[in-house]
Symmetry: C2
């Protein structure tokens, strides 16, 4: 079928793979202990440091993002330790689940889904739980499209507590500002299949001096997710266990592409994609789930029509014309849909998505002025 | 450089990727919760069952083989539980390290490196440690090229104990016989980058009814490596965490290729590759590390020349003409070299390797009758 592989993958990860990255991943396999592989690992680690904004060594795990969330938890905490987990959606909840599972004491600061964490809420929670050893945040909460103000939140933690600041940056690092060292992030975790434009299968982690001290003194058992072994092996430009070599080939090319565009330009591009998407959605009379201020540059959540129309019916029409967007998760299932616009995505792609949305709204019988969403996005674009 | 990517990767994993598998992995990215991805996961799981020889559900983890060794340990055992680990080399030792790390009581049955475990040794060890809850084996010990007689060993365990039989099949499953259910294997673990002809990054696991009972009652914490969550999600044709989608594309194609050739033919092919390699090595006057009986069909270990010549010098010459073989690990470093002949490897590849070996032996100044190793291998081939 001619058009079988012609579709726009606009979910908030996995995201489309650029051709040169695809090509890099198709290089002939090499030994993972070869000099060539070591050179790639070293280069990737160095380049990741620039994106993370850290002088610490960036580590690469061959597994998906959740494994690195778990690594953060079990490397810094022991059973019985207290943790504060700020939950703004599904992925904040995942941190809390891991903390619970390992019999640590989990205090949840539950923020209403669709809103970012307010520093005042955080101060209250820190006062209520003065002995927490770590505070867990989600930088971009993929399930709602919220970007938490990590810079401010990290500073707030350090002003009011001795706790470590652990940040899940899976669905935004590589698309948004990040100054890990300056902001006081103690562990930063991200994954390959979002703004890094790779297939899933790699997780990237960096750890502050302060957190390394805690980790070195933490006797809790861990093996595949023991960050100390990754640090030790990275000094020898390798990994403790066989890495996902083809994804490393791709990561090297991705980091080259990001450096070529320049991180400031990459960040500006994602900001523009966000603004174009939001302008287009508004022009179509649809309701955004998050405020402009709280919204992430990587994913936009849009409310379904309640009793009037279903976001699932809309997604089905979109899919029929080759545009894949995400639905809502858990209690948001059927109530919202989400457009991913990170990584290999440019302003014209937003026009394409909005165009498909207009046609699909029409198909499910919604009143829609064709072209109006596209026009609003174009206005943002040409004035950027 | 024209010949930069023209090399023969003949280490015991990662192994070369067949072109159609490479192509499958280059398909456009899809959502991991899509129907299409579910269909791939279901198909892969079913096909893996045939190769494992099990009616149990085969599970797919996105991480390297070691993570699945760890999963086997931490899912069936709790701290304080006794385990018997049969170590025949580096990877048996890895099992023992994991057991130690999690504060289980690890009894080691240390078999001389280069030899397979003798059932009589095993019976003695089981008598000495009658309360072990699990016995850990390495089917193919990659570091020495030994294939342990897993069928006999598993039966021996069940005759003399109630312990579960856990098998690391990373460097041989997909190339050697395996009847998990009939042989009484309780957990079988393998990886993508060996006989499965894929890049590293996937681990495949199957679990017996008996082991599932133990796992369900094991309160020890685990999250990314919690096999129960993989079983639960596999019932819904998905995975608990984002899987390495591009590797799943590849796995589907690999399983198709293996089914097309037929597992009996695949197993015969690897047996032939082993016999050709050994005949060639002997004809060149080199010494094999393992007996014919103990040797694996997937990897052959050859002794270096002691004081007379160095296997590292030989490897360097081989590499210069585009043939990559592995050295020895740990105390075998510099003392042996290892030829991987599994997965995407046919009889002609063995002639190529032997040919390169003859030229390289000549280059390091060893007396060698050019063509003699190749000839011996050809004799085996034409009479097969």
């Amino acid at each position: 079928m001619v058009f079988q592989d012609k579709f726009q993958l606009r979910i908030p990860g996995p995201t489309p793979i650029p051709p040169s990255v695809q090509q890099a991943m198709s290089r002939p396999m090499i030994g993972h202990r070869s000099k060539e592989c070591s050179a790639i690992i070293r280069q990737c680690s160095e380049d990741l440091g620039h994106i993370f904004g850290t002088n610490q060594t960036s580590l690469i795990l061959s597994s998906s993002g959740t494994s690195a969330l778990e690594a953060a938890v079990i490397n810094v905490l022991s059973p019985g330790d207290e943790a504060l987990v700020v939950t703004t959606g599904v992925f904040g909840e995942r941190f809390a689940k891991i903390v619970d599972r390992y019999q640590m004491t989990c205090h949840r600061l539950e923020v209403e889904w669709g809103k970012a964490c307010d520093p005042e809420q955080l101060i209250q929670a820190l006062r209520q739980h003065p002995t927490v050893k770590a505070v867990f945040f989600t930088y971009c909460e993929t399930s709602t499209g919220v970007l938490n103000p990590i810079h401010t939140l990290a500073q707030t933690v350090h002003e009011h507590s001795d706790a470590l600041v652990i940040v899940d940056g899976v669905s935004c690092i590589g698309a948004v500002p990040c100054q890990m060292d300056d902001w006081g992030i103690d562990i930063l975790v991200t994954g390959s299949q979002k703004a890094f434009m790779l297939p899933p299968g790699l997780a990237m982690v960096a750890v502050s001096e302060q957190a390394w001290k805690r980790i070195a003194n933490n006797p809790s058992p861990r093996f595949y997710l023991d960050l100390l072994s990754y640090r030790e092996k990275m000094e020898q430009e390798t990994t403790p266990f066989t890495p996902a070599v083809s994804l490393l080939f791709g990561l090297q090319e991705v980091l080259h592409l990001l450096a070529e565009e320049g991180m400031e330009a990459v960040i500006r591009r994602h900001q523009l994609l966000k603004e174009m998407t939001r302008a287009g959605i508004r022009a179509l009379g649809l309701e955004l789930m998050t405020s402009d201020e709280d919204a992430s540059p990587t994913v936009t959540s849009i409310l379904g029509g309640g009793d009037e129309w279903s976001s699932e019916a809309l997604r089905k029409e979109l899919s029929a014309i080759g545009v894949i967007v995400a639905g809502g998760q858990q209690h948001l299932k059927g109530k919202i849909f989400r457009i991913g616009h990170m990584g290999y995505c440019d302003p014209l792609d937003i026009c394409t998505i909005l165009s498909s949305l207009e046609v699909s709204l029409h198909k499910i019988g919604r009143p829609v002025s064709l072209g109006q969403g596209v026009q609003a996005a174009q206005e943002v674009w040409i004035h950027a």
